[in-house]
């Protein structure tokens, strides 16, 4: 019943899986990338969007620190369209560990990470919202990166080289024969049927889900789940990335991205992947901690909270999850009795390319492919339709185009019809069928301050008009979208956001009876 054949099947469409797809495609290896939901649905979409200078890890993980430095420099050159070179500050406030502060420049130097010491006055001059209680500050080369654009462009490039993408196609089982995976069974939600993919080699790049997927093939991979919650402010708070100068802890990084800033994270061990959402307690903790560096965070307006799960493969350690290496792990499961199965998990966004390279090296070795890695030298091609998820891009383009017939579907984030149309077209080009969720993921729809109150209805209507949504499928996609946005709303409902939520509910329940 095999209906698809390929050299390599990559399971998981996050930063690692999409990066790996591109790496292999550049080496001439034929791939299918299967994702159970949509691009960056897991931790790749639920993080800070921070391109580390490496300084964050100098105290506890020098290997990661150096990898971050090298990869950061490389990505700034090869994928500049995905990166905002904001620069970063590491700041300490009264009460922070003075020994750590004193050692910091030395630790950076050991990892060859460029660092410049500033006086607190200089730092305040650069970022006036910093606390008046600063006792030390250093400038580093941190930057912000748009993880969605990065992954979408990796996929787009891979596809242009022949990679096939299957979205909404979760793995349901493996067919094993002796020491090999014969085929992988996927459930293709868009076709509504099961499909079998036979591949020379299967890569499990499913992040926190790596243990679940490996288990389906009868292989034990022990993954610990560390949940990180983040908060998005309604406005950009600082120009630069702000790091708290202390051993990594809760809520000590503030990352600007376009017109917003992202504050986080927490690190909470969770027992399963069933409840990944951000909680009220985490939000309160993040604000409290963040306000020590940047006091206005106490009163800032937050438009959303979200969470991602870091997969930690290491054996349980004594300290907190941050003291476990943020490095990545590649398993060649031939040691477990399956010759053509590889798992890659762990790591971080900044080093996604390196992870992909190392994994591809192993795969090519196993397949007998000798082509070298090219992602360290070939620039990532930019595509017009990949950047619509970045805060602030859509308004800029909309104002520039100045076309009165291009009606805005989302007023908060200024997403016009033309953007929705071009996203739908690009999904169709890639062989998928555009859905409401897919368009929302690839744009700012529902991510502004009204959290989808109006744009949900307008986009639905527009996509019906365009024939992109079959209207007979009813209103469940709207309900799903609103419930999904709600997850990020629920922990931040006070002040103005509660007012907006009340209006949202008054409209969608009070008037439209969507709860019924």
């Amino acid at each position: 019943m095999t209906d698809l054949e390929t050299q390599v099947l990559i399971i998981g469409g996050g930063a690692t899986g999409t990066g790996l797809a591109r790496d292999l495609a550049l080496r001439g290896v034929q791939c299918i990338l299967a994702e159970k939901m949509d691009i960056n649905a897991g931790a790749s979409g639920g993080n800070h969007g921070l391109l580390h200078s490496g300084a964050r890890y100098v105290s506890n993980d020098t290997v990661s620190a150096m990898e971050c430095r090298e990869e950061g420099e490389l990505l700034k050159r090869l994928a500049p369209q995905c990166i905002e070179e904001t620069g970063g500050l590491f700041v300490a406030v009264e009460g922070d560990d003075e020994n750590f502060i004193a050692d910091f420049p030395l630790m950076c130097a050991k990892c060859s990470i460029p660092v410049q010491e500033l006086t607190p006055e200089e730092a305040l001059d650069m970022e006036p919202v910093l606390s008046g209680n600063l006792i030390a500050a250093f400038a580093l080369e941190d930057a912000s990166v748009d993880p969605f654009r990065l992954s979408l462009e990796n996929v787009a490039h891979a596809r242009s080289l022949g990679t096939r993408l299957l979205r909404y196609a979760p793995v349901v089982g493996f067919d094993l024969k002796q020491d090999r995976i014969q085929s992988v069974r996927l459930f293709d939600k868009q076709l509504g049927k099961e499909r079998a993919v036979s591949a020379d080699l299967v890569v499990n790049a499913t992040g926190a889900w790596a243990g679940d997927i490996a288990a389906l093939a009868g292989i034990p991979v022990h993954v610990l789940y560390s949940k990180g919650t983040l908060l998005i402010t309604s406005q950009r708070i600082t120009e630069r990335v702000i790091n708290r100068l202390r051993p990594p802890s809760d809520a000590d990084i503030l990352v600007p991205g376009g017109t917003v800033s992202i504050l986080g994270t927490t690190s909470l061990r969770i027992p399963s992947l069933e409840t990944i959402g951000p909680t009220v307690e985490e939000v309160d903790r993040i604000i409290e901690e963040g306000a020590a560096m940047v006091p206005i965070l106490e009163e800032a307006r937050y438009i959303r909270a979200y969470a991602g799960v870091r997969p930690l493969v290491q054996i349980e350690s004594q300290g907190d999850d941050r003291s476990v290496s943020r490095g990545f792990t590649i398993f060649d499961h031939s040691h477990d009795g399956l010759d053509n199965f590889v798992t890659i998990t762990g790591g971080k966004l900044t080093t996604y390319r390196l992870m992909a390279e190392r994994t591809a090296d192993m795969i090519c070795h196993k397949l007998g492919v000798s082509a070298p890695c090219l992602t360290g030298t070939v620039p990532l091609p930019g595509t017009q339709v990949s950047g619509w998820s970045y805060p602030g891009l859509s308004p800029k383009e909309y104002m520039k185009s100045n076309n009165p017939e291009d009606v805005l579907l989302c007023e908060c984030e200024m997403v016009p019809k033309s953007v929705v149309d071009s996203i739908a077209a690009s999904i169709r080009e890639q062989g998928g069928s555009p859905s409401f969720e897919a368009v929302a993921l690839r744009s700012r729809l529902g991510k502004g301050s009204c959290q989808g109150t109006f744009c949900s209805i307008r986009t639905d209507a527009h996509m019906i008009d365009k024939g992109d949504i079959n209207p007979d499928q009813g209103l469940n996609h709207l309900r799903k979208f609103l419930n999904e946005r709600w997850k990020g709303q629920r922990p931040i409902l006070w002040d103005g956001q509660l007012v907006r939520a009340e209006f949202l509910e008054a409209l969608h329940c009070g008037l439209f009876d969507l709860e019924r």
Binding site: G277, T279, V280, E281, D284, I287, P404, E405, V407, L408, F454, I457, R458, D460, A461, H462, I464, D465, P471, D472, G474, L475, L478, R479, L482, N483, R485, W486, K487, Q489, R490, P491, L493, W494, D495, L498, V499, A501, E502, F503, L504, E505, A506, L507, H508, C509, G510, L511, F512, D513, L514, E515, R516
Partner: protein, 432 residues
């Protein structure tokens, strides 16, 4: 130089939503001198539909045809709901007083006294409500009989899709079609809002003729036509009947997303109507502080630009709404009442305010937050006694109700306003 003014009155109504407007009306009708203060926000967001009591128990999503039976069941199950303090005849009297007032102000409503009405929304869902603007009544009837029908929308119009409505209703009303035409004066199909400006276009017979010509070729076998609620700002049912004459078959309006024309019409009708019966309105102002005067009257200080206005009133009806209206305010640490700092009934901790899903049919505990009162609708202080002898609360600021889920918003606003005014009149007698 600031000029100061002190206004003495019997009753000050704080709030300009459905509850505040109704309270001002009932008070003025009883010969009470009324000052009303507040920036109209809530009323602008009104859909134009007046719900009474539609769904109970919310967790079962049970919708009732008979609002009075629903209310009986509600009061049995949830004796803290504000409706439990009201009698059916009082609620009937309240509507009996409100509807003729709106009619006279150019905004006639239709209802069946003993029955709820089902109305199509702009998403094609069917909402349970009670009183419906006359311009929408044909839609209620049509939904009951499902004749061959046509839903019309316009090129460039946001927030309203005939195709969506028809698709959602396909099972319930199979013989419904959608058509998109050009709105008069918008041949280019530029962005069009379902607001005041668009509605005013149809007040001229020339535009109505143009629109009729656009629609007519699409009628075919349709017996009724639904369209977005933009048939004129003033006297909409006259505008609608003129349009019906041109087109030749019954028409009905479908409520649109707030701020909508029906909400604007309500605001307009109340403002004009209340001023005509002597209510003094401060619609650009809000109350900054309130304190007690020497003779147990309440002194309200308004924020006005360059002018100091103080209202000295025997009684106050607080109808300042919830979070949207500004009557309640939530910080990370709790919910408070914004003007008198009255105790607010609320779920203990912020993590308990909202459920995990927006559309959880049980509703969110935070929606039950609000003011607790005595039987005369006087908000209680920390000691559980009326905070002020002559302070009353009406509308959505009251605790133990979820108007969005129970579909009881307008009914609650109108009837608690009625009860508050009556209670004020009674206490006023006592003071004499």
């Amino acid at each position: 130089m600031s000029i100061s003014e002190t206004i003495k009155c019997d009753l000050a109504v704080i709030g300009t939503g459905m509850a505040g407007m109704s309270a001002a009306l009932f008070a003025a009708n009883r010969g009470v001198s009324v000052v009303q203060i507040g920036r109209p926000k809530g009323i602008l967001l009104a859909s134009g539909l007046l719900d009474l009591m539609g769904v109970h128990p919310v967790q079962e999503n049970r919708s009732w045809n008979d609002p009075w039976a629903a209310m009986d069941a509600l009061c049995r199950d949830l004796p803290e709901h504000p409706y439990s303090r009201l009698k059916k005849e009082d609620i009937l009297s309240a509507f009996g007083e409100l509807l003729p007032f709106l009619h006279n102000a150019g905004l006639p409503y239709c209802r069946r006294v003993e029955q709820n009405a089902k109305i199509i929304t702009s998403l094609g869902t069917v909402k349970t409500t009670y009183c419906v603007p006359k311009t929408m009544w044909n839609g209620v009837l049509a939904l009951e009989n499902q004749p061959k029908g046509l839903i019309v929308d316009f090129f460039g119009l946001k927030d309203f899709s005939a195709g969506r409505i028809v698709a959602t209703l396909r099972e319930r009303w199979p013989e419904l079609r959608a058509v998109r035409v050009f709105f008069p004066g918008n041949a280019g199909g530029k962005e069009l809002l379902a607001g005041e400006i668009t509605a005013q276009v149809l007040e001229t017979s020339e535009s109505r003729m143009k629109l009729a010509q656009e629609i007519k070729p699409h009628i075919r076998d349709a017996r009724v036509i639904g369209m977005p609620s933009i048939c004129g700002m003033r006297n909409p049912d006259e505008v609608l009947s003129e349009l019906e004459k041109e087109i030749g078959i019954p028409l009905f309006e479908i409520p649109t997303i707030p701020p909508s024309v029906p909400g604007l019409r309500l605001k307009e009708a109340f403002e004009v109507g209340l001023q005509a019966i002597g209510v003094r309105q401060f619609l650009q102002e809000q109350v900054l502080t309130v304190n007690r005067g020497d003779n147990s009257e309440l002194i309200l200080h308004l924020d006005t630009k360059g002018r100091k206005v103080v209202v000295q009133s025997q009684g106050v009806i607080l109808a300042s709404g919830r979070f949207m209206g500004g009557g309640l305010y939530a910080s990370r640490r709790g919910i408070r009442e914004t003007l008198f700092n009255l105790p607010v009934f609320q779920p203990g901790d912020r993590k308990d305010w909202h459920r995990k899903e927006l559309l959880d049919s049980r509703g969110h505990p935070a929606n039950q937050a609000g003011l607790e009162t005595d039987d005369l609708f006087r908000p209680l202080n920390e000691a559980g006694r009326p905070a002020f002898e002559t302070l009353f609360a009406a509308g959505s600021i009251l605790a133990h109700q979820d108007w969005m889920r129970m579909k009881c918003g307008s009914g609650l606003a109108v009837s608690t306003a009625y009860a508050s005014v009556n209670a004020f009149s009674k206490t006023k007698e006592q003071f004499k």
